[in-house]
């Protein structure tokens, strides 16, 4: 998910740090996008050249296993390969460092057969012990610094070295999501030396992987330069070509202002830029550039209600609220073509997604009727009341995504039309974390990126973060527990599909819209692609005329 700056926080801090001065900062936000689908790249790839990429925010580091933000992954993903890859079109798991694998029937043992020709950029070979060293470190010393990896490896017991190029990863309980997790950048395989290195040093650049690019330099808050590995020859089946990358070098700089990114691209100072805002699309297309967009898989942007108290404790009210929201209008009015209205709690690019648009149709009349029937009558100010209580609730949100405020303001208007009051509470990341613990919110607005339907379990399972603050729900909890132990892919997809229905049945989430990535590329740049998690890959990228 893109990361932005809470303007309030920045102002406060600027005032704090430099007391006598007044700093006015505008919001430097990565975010929304517009434009069409990536066009087919015509012509024969050309080798050479430097691709200059402007990131919208600062990476938190370059260690594939520790970073979580999109911009960090844009760099880190190029440095390392994973055991498997995931086809962004089909969601299928494909060979990468592992040529094949077997999964035990009880989903506790995953055996991977590794390629025998892979070397890391320090010259050391990929062996079974390397994989073991990586997973042992991720569940040991690195654990707290790599929380996402730790959650993918929950229940990890050991990695058995079967022979030089075969490993078996063993879990205490069934872990159906692990195979997809093995394709993520978070579980990328790094060299033996890196696996045991200090986590902080790794974040700062002490990272050796087997990827198509090697880190040349990284300066925090300034940028990174990566150079191609001429002897790379083990791209996954998902890539267009197997050998070394086409461009010699990629120069990432951090450009927080979207207008500067777009202007820089249009004036030829960048070859590609991240987080293009709708207002900058014209400048990019005017200069012959184009826009690449892809919907992020995972949980769409939702309002997740706290069902423990207040009017939203009533499922009839929650359903009426959901019916009163016109999702198409959100996209048409305040977002852009790149975005889609939510048609389930999962985004359409998530494996296991089911289209539940019939449950998310806009129907203000039905919402009005339901609220009338539930005894909520309109008061003098137009807001419904019942037993002296107003039909009013708040939403907490962190400004992680530039379009959020506008989206929520429009939702506010739409709800107002049926006599429901929505109060917007923008919080900093820190305040939001605190509110999450205390339960001091009526609805929680967020999204999560993950290219596997298992993301429902941590977000909606009663054992997960339980943002709903709900009690047991045998139907949903049963489906989520079952999904994780289901070996049969079709049966697992079925459970994930039913879980989406169960979430909407009880309105544990009010889905709004699907987040999309939007990347601007200059007219000479081809072959920049998205992986299954909608993060960028540069292995197939080339620049015409270089």
């Amino acid at each position: 998910m893109p990361r932005t700056v809470p303007a309030r926080w920045r102002l406060a801090a600027a005032a704090l740090v430099v007391a006598p001065a007044l700093a006015l900062t505008a919001c430097a936000g990565p975010g929304t996008a517009a434009g069409g689908a990536p066009s087919a790249d015509a012509g024969t790839p050309v080798e050479g050249g430097t691709l200059r990429f402007a990131l919208g925010a600062s990476p938190s580091g370059v260690d594939p296993q520790q970073v979580g933000s999109n911009v960090s992954i844009y760099i880190a993903r190029q440095l390392a390969d994973s055991l498997t890859d995931q086809d962004p079109e089909t969601g299928e798991i494909k060979p990468w460092l592992a040529t094949s694998w077997e999964v035990s029937d009880d989903l506790t043992q995953f055996t991977f057969h590794l390629r025998d020709d892979v070397t890391f950029s320090d010259g050391t070979p990929l062996t079974a012990t390397t994989v073991k060293a990586n997973f042992d470190a991720l569940t040991g010393p690195l654990g707290a610094s790599a929380p996402l990896a730790a959650s993918y490896l929950a229940g990890y017991q050991e990695t058995k070295v079967v022979d030089e190029h075969t490993v078996t990863v063993v879990f205490a309980a069934a872990n159906a999501q692990f195979l997809q997790a093995s394709s993520t950048v978070t579980l990328a395989i790094l060299s033996d030396a890196t696996a045991t290195a200090d986590p902080a040093a790794r974040l700062q650049g002490k990272v050796v992987g087997s990827g198509p690019f090697v880190l040349k330099s990284y300066t925090q808050d300034q940028g990174a330069v990566i150079t191609k590995r001429a002897d790379y020859a083990w791209a996954s089946g998902v890539a267009d070509h197997e050998g070394a990358a086409y461009v010699d070098e990629i120069d990432f700089s951090i450009v927080p202002e979207s207008g500067v990114r777009a202007g820089g691209l249009a004036s030829g100072q960048f070859d590609a830029v991240g987080d293009v805002l709708p207002q900058d699309v014209q400048q990019i297309s005017g200069a012959g550039g184009s826009l690449l967009t892809r919907t992020n898989p995972g949980v769409v942007f939702v309002l997740q209600p706290n069902v423990a108290s207040g009017p939203l404790a009533d499922v009839a009210v929650r359903r009426a609220v959901s019916q009163a929201i016109n999702r198409q209008e959100l996209v048409d009015t305040v977002l852009s073509d790149a975005f889609k209205p939510a048609t389930s709690v999962l985004a359409s690019t998530t494996p296991g997604y089911v289209d539940l648009s019939k449950d998310l149709a806009f129907d203000a009349d039905a919402a009005t009727a339901a609220l009338d029937a539930a005894g909520w009558a309109k008061g003098a100010d137009g807001v419904r009341e019942k037993d002296g209580q107003k039909l009013s609730f708040d939403v907490i949100y962190a400004p992680n995504f530039t379009g959020s405020q506008a989206v929520l303001e429009l939702v506010q208007q739409q709800l107002r039309a049926v006599g429901v009051e929505l109060e917007l509470r923008q919080l900093t990341q820190a305040e939001q974390t605190a509110a999450q613990k205390s339960g001091d919110y009526d609805t929680y607005y967020y999204n999560v990126t993950r290219a596997d339907g298992d993301i429902l379990r941590p977000q909606f399972g009663v054992q997960g973060s339980n943002l709903n603050k709900r009690g047991a729900d045998p139907v949903l909890d049963g489906l989520l527990a079952g999904e994780l132990t289901q070996a049969d892919a079709a049966a697992r997809a079925d459970a994930i599909g039913k879980a989406q229905e169960a979430v909407l049945d009880q309105v544990y989430a009010i889905p709004l819209f699907e987040l999309a990535q939007s990347i601007g590329v200059a007219k000479d740049v081809h072959g920049v692609t998205f992986d299954a998690s909608s993060r960028l890959l540069f292995h197939d990228a080339w620049i015409a005329g270089k």
Binding site: G61, A144, V255, Q429, G464
Partner: protein
């Protein structure tokens, strides 16, 4: 003189201690602890083993009580150890050490531009006999303060980088990359300089010694350069001390718009992710810079104006300026001996 300097240094130390303490209290009182924020950023909302959270908290010392944390941090800060960044794991001293020279270059150039442009505007307005030109020039400072730096920066970029390709839009490489952000930063600073200097010059022009000098046949230019400027420069110097603070704060905007590495960007980044050790380190360093500059300004007064008697004020630790000498038409006691001395050279 020694007592005065000693008093100033002690006062400076007190300011630094206060800056550290206030920022510690504010940061400590934030609703969420930094480890949770850090994990929240990294884990994309997935649950994390509580034992690992506790381990991480212990590693950074967040498991201790507030007083213990305060004392241990204060001790480390006094020895120059500002801790390590939570988000990157790099030593805070190193991060600030990398950022500060970039911002120093930027702020330095901006200060030079501010003094030259701001001083030039004020002097020209003071020297000219055309009321129209004078009015025009004096309208500039309010305008310079009013336009948002953010907007100016984007405007400069559109023209000089995206349209005419004169300067790079981003980066820290070379002098060319310094020009546009320095100009952005210098606009409000030159406005302050021009405003204060123009007022000082205006007051000085109305002093009796100006009339005397003119009566003795000195030219307008000579009166301006020999007498008026010397008397008007003191308040402008005071403003310079404050300006350094403004420039540091302005670097948040300038460095963000122009994608430069430096103090301001570091502030913005650290605050966003609630990287408490970095924020705390930045507060301390900013306070040190600010206190040092103001100390230098204080010490420079007597060099510029011998009427200022530091020893007399030392007892109270305060600097007594001959304020009335600058007010129009009413020569202060201290001003009386100075004016004839200057007039002798004018005649």
């Amino acid at each position: 003189m020694t007592r005065y300097v000693l008093g100033r240094v002690l006062a400076a130390a007190a300011v630094l201690w206060a800056a550290f303490t206030v920022s510690f209290v504010v940061l400590y009182l934030l609703p969420s602890d930094p480890v949770s924020v850090m994990l929240d950023n990294a884990s994309a909302g997935q649950s994390v083993d509580p034992a690992q959270v506790a381990a991480l908290r212990a590693r950074y010392g967040f498991d201790q009580g507030p007083l213990q944390q305060y004392l241990s941090q204060l001790g480390h800060t006094l020895t120059g150890d500002l801790g390590t960044s939570l988000s990157s794991g790099a030593p805070v001293r190193e991060l600030i050490g990398q950022a500060l020279p970039q911002t120093a270059a930027l702020a330095g150039l901006a200060l030079v531009i501010a003094v030259v442009v701001g001083g030039g505007v004020a002097l020209l307005a003071s020297w000219t006999r055309s009321d129209r030109l004078r009015g025009l020039l004096l309208a500039l400072p309010p305008l310079g303060v009013a336009v948002p730096g953010f907007w100016v920066g984007l405007l400069l970029l559109q023209l000089f980088s995206f349209r005419w390709y004169w300067f790079p839009a981003v980066g820290n490489e070379g002098f060319a990359s310094l020009v546009l952000p320095a100009v952005t930063l210098a606009i409000p600073a030159s406005a302050s300089v021009a405003q204060v200097l123009a007022q000082g010059l205006d007051a000085a022009w109305r002093s009796p010694y100006v009339e005397t000098a003119l009566a003795k046949g000195a030219t307008r230019t000579r009166v301006l350069t020999r007498h008026v400027v010397r008397n008007a420069v003191l308040p402008a110097l005071t403003v310079l001390g404050v300006l350094v603070g403004h420039l540091l704060a302005g670097s948040v905007v300038a460095e963000t718009v122009f994608s430069r590495q430096g103090f301001g960007r570091l502030v913005e980044e650290a605050v966003t992710v609630q990287d408490i050790p970095v924020v705390q380190g930045l507060v301390v360093v900013a306070a040190v810079v600010f206190v040092l500059v103001n100390l230098l300004v204080d010490l420079a007064y007597p060099l510029l104006d011998p009427r200022i008697d530091l020893t007399a004020a030392a007892g109270r630790g305060l600097l007594r300026l001959p304020r009335r000498s600058r007010s129009a038409g009413v020569p202060g006691r201290a001003a009386v001996p100075a004016a004839p001395a200057e007039l002798r050279s004018a005649a």
